[in-house]
């Protein structure tokens, strides 16, 4: 069986359009996440938002009248990824879609319910109903892209992006598709922002400041964020046959759960399992993209897991320091940063990190950009319900070369 390769990336984040814009933003260590859209800036718990103007620009005038904001954003991001992969003919029976999201459609659900209760069933707009389901963005994307292959939605909080990657990998290995769009989207609303740190509405889990500060001494909790991230996954042999350059190879993905709410245990088990299933070893890892989001206890638990496996040797970047907690999109944004870090040979810092918290195990969290050698990278994520997932990404076997798209940032 051919290894699986990531051949395209699309990201829309608070930094703007594109994966390169995201990593450049992290490299520049922008710290203040002023809300750009979604909720008014003066709102309590205002999120680190993305701009609707960015979404409109990425859509280049494509009609999206029947789509809600999540689906529109996802479509725009998918277009970026497909262009990056050079997959102009995506669609048909052999191409599929998997979307990770927590809150897609929740505002539509609330609006429909309120309308029905306040104004009566006759005032419910039938066109709004289908937007209320968790699968709406994936289904809409399937319709728009005419993708008749597998179509799935994964709803696993911050972990969901890697679960979506695992679903896509399983589908490709099983021969049920030739290319999979692996997507994550999470947008903020008055409803979902209070839930940005799943199942942890306690004040201690919410940041007192405007930005999260993963692993930092002064971290005080997570901050709601918005992002969409999409990766094109296909068999490496198929990619090469159509002349595409793999941007990274997927080593393995694994997940674990701790019913006793021991997050460090779940994180460690998922990391170990992913490494065991990949050609890489803990000793060979050159970097780790952590899922830390500034939460006090959870960041410390993840640091314990990373330290027990990697000690203080491997440089660590927590992407959520820059983009905040983006739910279902979080892990795929981390994957995008990991791929670009591999290509550039440079790992961005953890935005907002200045000095390690006393309760944080001595892992090597970066406060500034750090060159990394060519080698495997680990991606670690976890959610507030003590589920964790990890992935191992490997550099593609051939030397990195520029692709046909402006999206590629190969400086290695």
């Amino acid at each position: 069986m051919s290894p699986l390769a990531i051949t395209g990336l699309g990201v829309i984040s608070r930094y703007g359009i594109g994966a390169t814009v995201l990593i450049d933003g992290l490299m520049g260590s922008a710290t203040e996440g002023s809300p750009r859209t979604g909720m008014p800036p003066e709102a309590q718990d205002a999120p680190v938002g993305i701009a609707d103007t960015d979404v409109a620009q990425a859509l280049s005038g494509e009609r999206t009248r029947t789509m809600n904001r999540e689906t529109r954003t996802l479509l725009a991001t998918a277009r970026l990824a497909l262009a990056d992969a050079g997959l102009g003919r995506f669609g048909g029976e052999r191409d599929g879609i998997v979307v990770s999201t927590c809150h897609a459609g929740v505002q539509d659900y609330a609006d429909l319910y309120r309308t029905g209760v306040r104004e009566g069933p006759r005032m419910v707009n039938p066109a709004r109903g289908p937007q209320t389901g968790l699968n709406a963005p994936a289904a809409h994307l399937g319709i728009r892209l005419a993708a008749e292959g597998p179509n799935m939605t994964v709803c696993n909080g911050n972990v969901g992006g890697l679960d979506a990657l695992a679903y896509a990998a399983t589908t490709l290995y099983a021969g049920a598709a030739d290319a999979m769009l692996v997507c994550g989207v999470e947008l903020a609303s008055h409803l979902s922002v209070p839930a940005c740190s799943p199942r942890s509405p306690a004040p201690s889990s919410r940041s007192r400041g405007p930005s999260p500060r993963p692993f930092d001494r002064e971290r005080s909790g997570a901050v709601a964020g918005e992002a969409a991230a999409v990766a094109v996954l296909e068999r490496e042999s198929d990619a090469r046959r159509r002349g595409a350059l793999p941007r990274a190879r997927l080593g393995a993905v694994a997940s674990a759960f701790s019913p006793e709410h021991e997050l460090a245990d779940a994180s460690l088990r998922s990391l170990v399992s992913a490494l065991q299933r990949s050609p890489a070893s803990a000793d060979s890892l050159v970097a780790a993209l952590a899922g830390a989001d500034g939460s006090v206890a959870e960041d410390a638990a993840e640091a314990r897991a990373l330290h027990s496996l990697l000690g203080g040797r491997v440089p660590v970047c927590a992407v959520q320091g820059g983009i905040a907690s983006c739910g279902g999109a979080t892990a795929l944004a981390q994957v995008a940063v990991a791929v670009l870090a591999l290509e550039r040979g440079m790992l961005p810092p953890t935005v907002g990190y200045r000095s390690r918290g006393e309760d944080v195990a001595p892992i090597r969290v970066l406060a500034g950009p750090q060159p990394i050698p060519r080698g495997p990278v680990a991606v670690s994520v976890r959610d507030g319900l003590c589920c964790a997932a990890s992935a191992v990404l490997l550099p593609p076997p051939a030397p990195c070369a520029p692709s046909t798209s402006k999206e590629v940032g190969c400086a290695a």
Binding site: G91, G133, I143, P150, N151
Partner: protein, 403 residues
């Protein structure tokens, strides 16, 4: 497609309006009982439909269910029953090698209604008891059973709309084939919500009196609460621990109509592809299928398109393949529906009995299938195809085989 080892089902659990345990559900279904009735949890006065497959009097369920909304509580109950039914203990399988995959349309989202009502100061109207913030975590549907059972392996909540239960079974099987776990509790759960009643009311898709799948006079669906769970294992593992085997998961396939958010493709394009691909995955031909558990919602469009798709796949032999739909008896349990129907398929394989389609009385020329009606039909069953179709054109069909 995926190679051996075979995946088998060793435990079943179910929660429906017909019964909240396996044998009461199955005996009621075979007796021709209908579980849809007047809804009590909602003020349905503004609606044209006042009935549904409501699950009432669900027992507590232990600490994992305390303060939880209905869907995760049903998921926990079904999962517990399935694991007990499988006689699966930590002596057999390490908890780290046992995972949970559940599917749902809305998962915990209905609890948002109680949260909104509370914010509006209208008290408890239109809401199930407890769990007002569960909506923030749809993954609770898979996490809660894992907490209740102490399962530490892969944990995943999927949605492919009303095909979600079948999708969970398919993905759970893939996790086992990939060696990521030694046992998977796979299933689905969903609860009736007022928002979904409103949505289907806006489509004029709710049946006022009863659900009549494939009947000439069918006039819509009824929503239902429900959950079901299946314990999946690799066959050699199951046999080595001496487990009872209900049946095999022979094949499955997910596809998308890519046509419309609510309407099925008029020629059932995705359904045809999914049925054919599931049979191919199973190494079977249409002529090998002894029975079809239809999606059969009771809406005019679904049933006509499904019948067309079945005729396309099975050709002239379509009229000789027994077809049954459970939705006349229990309503449409949304993301749980196909998981519940999977349980029915496996019990049908065990007993050699195809349950009847409740409320079917008058054949419809546009659904010229061999619809099993009146009484269960005795038949030697080796292969059953379980169809599941959802909004957005999400489709997943699963082929089950005898042990």
């Amino acid at each position: 497609m995926s190679a051996a080892p075979a995946i088998v089902v060793t435990g079943l659990g179910v929660v429906t309006a017909l019964g909240i345990d396996l044998e009461s559900f199955w005996s009621a279904l075979l007796a021709g009982a209908v579980g849809t009735r007047e809804l009590t949890r909602f003020d349905t006065a503004p609606l044209s439909c006042h009935r549904g497959g409501e699950v009432r009097d669900l027992p507590g369920g232990g600490p994992a269910c305390t303060g939880r909304s209905l869907a995760p509580r049903m998921a926990v109950r079904a999962a517990k029953e399935a694991v007990e039914d499988a006689s699966l203990t930590t002596e057999d399988i390490h908890a780290e090698r046992c995972g949970v995959v559940f599917g749902s349309v809305m998962a915990t989202r209905p609890s948002l209604e109680a949260w909104i009502d509370r914010k509006r100061g209208t008290g408890e109207a239109n809401c199930a008891e407890g769990g007002e913030t569960d909506w923030t975590s749809p993954s609770l549907l898979a996490r809660a059973p894992a907490v209740a059972l102490g399962l530490r392996g892969p944990n995943c909540m999927l949605s492919s709309a009303c095909a979600s239960g079948n999708s969970a079974i398919a993905y759970g099987s893939e996790l086992l084939r990939a060696g990521q776990a030694d046992a998977i509790v796979a299933g689905g759960a969903d609860e009736i919500s007022y928002a979904m009643l409103l949505m289907f009311e806006s489509f004029r898709a709710l049946a006022p009196d009863c659900v009549k799948p494939f009947d000439r006079d069918r006039d819509g669906l009824m929503l239902a609460d429900g959950a079901a769970a299946l314990v999946l294992e690799r066959e050699p593992d199951a046999r080595s621990r001496g487990a009872r085997i209900y049946g095999r998961i022979l094949g499955y396939a997910n596809s998308c109509d890519a046509h419309h958010m609510t309407a099925p493709h008029p020629q059932g394009r995705g359904a045809v592809r999914s049925m054919l691909a599931a049979l191919k995955h199973a190494g079977a031909q249409p002529c090998d299928v002894d029975c079809i558990n239809a999606h059969g919602t009771g809406t005019p469009s679904n049933d006509a398109v499904e019948a067309y798709a079945i005729r396309t796949v099975f050709g002239a032999s379509a009229e000789h393949v027994p077809v049954s739909s459970l939705k006349g008896a229990i309503g449409h349990a949304q993301g749980a529906a196909s998981a519940i129907e999977a349980v029915s398929c496996l019990l049908a394989l065990r007993d050699g009995l195809v349950p009847a389609t409740a409320n079917y009385a008058t054949p419809d020329p546009t659904c010229d299938l061999d619809v099993v009606a009146g009484e269960p039909r005795k038949a030697p069953l080796r292969v059953i195809l379980n169809n599941a179709f959802g909004f957005g054109g999400n489709i997943e069909c699963v082929a089950f085989g005898a042990a």
